[in-house]
């Protein structure tokens, strides 16, 4: 081949490179653009519906009077239950697998199991909760049954996040603590967990943002789509001032409320759906943003 031919070949390849670069940018912009389009559409459809009345009213047959009071209260209670179960359990499991477990068949089973659990569709968790918690253990279609289902669902996320952030703590910390005579649990509770707190918090927030948007398992359990009352309050006037009656209460949640409104004909209800969607998206995006910031700060603050 002559030099000339080589030049032309190189030029053609440079053109192909440039073309692919354009294709890559276009595809990325397309994906991000869909997200923007979705957000924009929700805003246009629903922003007009969001006001104080919308947040403080129960659902109603008349779309203009309907609100999401029972839905957001239900979501808050669900989040409390889910976090209260999944975070301690997930962190404890992560600590065990990373710091205690030896490599044997027992831990191998647990590890394969966790990676498989992460891939189980959320609706299957709903079926499990329906058979096991609602009927098997007799919890009924209650906040506690739903909270347990969501806790099982997000458990793998928290376990994996805990393990990864423990793994990031350098060996020198462990060696120093052991050299000074610390026991294993002293090392974990005084040094490893505080050092890994950023990563664990990130994982827990991501897990909660997943749980708050989840609707399929709640529908399976039997979340009601129309609730015009609130669960009993957690604080009461008499001793012991705390009440857990709300755990047994029927519930609805934000995504359930939105699903209910989407499936109704008529643009009025769809505006309500969009408004609920804005709040749901706002919460999800906010939690993800907090997670990104926490991760970033934890990474910068700690220099090993």
């Amino acid at each position: 081949m002559t030099i000339n031919k080589w030049d032309r070949l190189a030029a053609r390849r440079r053109k192909a490179d440039a073309a692919f670069k354009v294709l890559g940018v276009v595809t990325t912009v397309f994906a991000v653009g869909v997200l923007a389009l979705l957000l924009g559409n929700l805003m246009i459809d629903g922003l007009g519906r969001i006001d104080w009345q919308f947040l403080t009213s129960f659902p109603s047959r008349r779309p203009a009077q309907a609100g999401i009071l029972s839905a957001w209260v239900g979501s808050v209670l669900l989040m409390l239950t889910t976090a209260g179960i999944a975070v301690p359990l997930g962190v404890a499991a992560g600590v065990y697998l990373e710091e205690y477990a030896r490599k044997n068949w027992f831990t191998a089973i647990i590890e394969i199991n966790i990676s498989n659990l992460a891939g189980v569709p959320s609706i299957i968790y709903g079926l499990m909760a329906l058979g096991l918690f609602v009927y098997g253990l007799g919890f009924g279609q209650s906040v506690i049954a739903a909270g347990l289902a969501l806790a099982c669902l997000v458990l793998p996320i928290i376990i994996v996040a805990t393990r990864e952030s423990l793994r990031a703590v350098p060996a020198s910390i462990r060696e120093a603590a052991y050299a000074l005579g610390a026991t294993r649990w002293q090392l974990i509770s005084h040094h490893l967990l505080p050092a890994a707190a950023g990563g664990i918090a990130t994982g827990s927030i991501i897990a909660m943002s997943r749980a708050i948007g989840e609707s399929a398992p709640l529908i399976t359990i039997g979340a009601l789509t129309f609730i015009a009352f609130l669960p009993p309050p957690p604080f009461i006037g008499d001793f012991p001032w705390l009440s857990f009656e709300w755990l047994k209460s029927p519930f609805t949640a934000m995504p359930i409320q939105m699903f209910n409104w989407v499936s109704r004909p008529g643009t009025d209800f769809q505006a309500n759906a969009a408004a609920a969607g804005i709040i749901l998206m706002g919460l999800t995006l906010m939690m993800n943003a907090i997670a990104i910031v926490v991760r970033h700060r934890a990474r910068r603050r700690v220099r090993w």
Binding site: V34, P88, A92, I110, P121, A216, I219, M258
Partner: protein, 310 residues
């Protein structure tokens, strides 16, 4: 970590305080192991519930009918239990979703890993991952009220509920699963392979497609398999936008019910515990679980192969 007494001559004399500490340590270890084991209980709970509840279903419905009949009408007066009607809907929405997610995800992964400046990558990756963080009920809204009417402008005989619009939106949701994991896999390819390729005069695109992509293939394949598993199990988008009529169809313009949409539809009604309809959602559920389990194990296996590659 023993609680038995040691010889008093030992440097580490077992004082009562030390003994208490050892018991405490033991207790903590047992507690943590129990927490780790709870994840196995979850799996056990899932499998046990699905098997027990669907056992009485399969005592009533022969497997042959379940797997060969093409009608799924468990709530009708004359029920038919052919899971193929739901499986075909599930497969069609999955296919449509993959036709978006696999090409787009792969292109983005190659672009981010080989072409994009590192700072852009740091920004784009978390933003893309937001796509998978959007509550699926919001995607359902988007598919039904934005994408469907838009598509109907070009395809007049598209039904209001359609496999096409549900699948397309689901595909966008799955893009980050493919792009993120594939990008990780491609970035793990040693630089020396790229440098070798450049040294031989290959272009950037040539290196990406002929060297990096094949080297990362098992990681990329694992991300594809994971994407399939996600698409098969995704529920709310299809429950809202694909329709709820179980239909044995391969036409994406049609409406159809998927396995998970059927479970949602039945759960919304008031089905008595233990009835045939109640059991039918567990039969559908165990089918879905089996399908996604196969794909998850496949992805796991591919990822392990990929890890051993270097």
């Amino acid at each position: 970590m023993q609680t038995t007494e040691r010889e008093p001559t030992s440097l580490l004399t077992v004082t009562p305080r030390r003994r208490r500490q050892r018991i405490w340590e033991r207790g903590i270890a047992v507690l943590l192991a129990a927490a780790a084991f709870s994840s196995v209980f979850v799996t056990f709970g899932i499998v046990a519930t699905l098997v027990v509840e669907s056992a009485s279903f399969f005592a009533h419905v022969p497997l042959k009918e379940f797997f060969t009949d093409t009608l799924w009408t468990p709530l009708f007066a004359e029920p038919r239990y052919g899971i193929l009607a739901l499986v075909s809907g599930t497969m069609m929405t999955t296919l449509v979703a993959l036709s978006i997610a696999l090409p787009a995800g792969t292109i983005i992964a190659i672009y981010l890993s080989e072409f994009a400046p590192p700072r852009l990558r740091e920004w784009v990756k978390p933003v893309l991952e937001l796509l998978s963080a959007v509550p699926t009920v919001v995607y359902g809204y988007f598919a039904l009220l934005v994408v469907s009417p838009f598509l109907q402008k070009f395809i007049p005989d598209l039904s209001h509920f359609s496999i096409l619009s549900a699948g397309l939106v689901m595909g966008v949701m799955i893009i980050p699963y493919v792009s993120s994991l594939s990008e990780d896999a491609m970035r793990a390819v040693p630089a020396i392979l790229r440098e070798g390729s450049y040294a031989l005069g290959a272009s950037k695109l040539g290196t990406s497609l002929n060297v990096v992509f094949p080297a990362a293939l098992s990681g990329i394949a694992a991300s594809y398999v994971l994407a399939i598993s996600r698409a098969v199990g995704e529920t709310m988008i299809v429950a809202i936008a694909a329709g709820l009529q179980p239909k044995f169809t391969v036409n994406p313009l049609d409406s159809a019910a998927t396995i998970s949409a059927f479970i949602v539809q039945v759960s919304l009604g008031d089905l008595p515990h233990g009835s045939m309809g109640y059991q039918s959602i567990f039969a559908a559920g165990i089918t879905l679980f089996a399908i996604t389990l196969c794909f998850n194990i496949g992805a796991h296996w591919l990822r392990r192969r990929f890890r051993e590659a270097y």
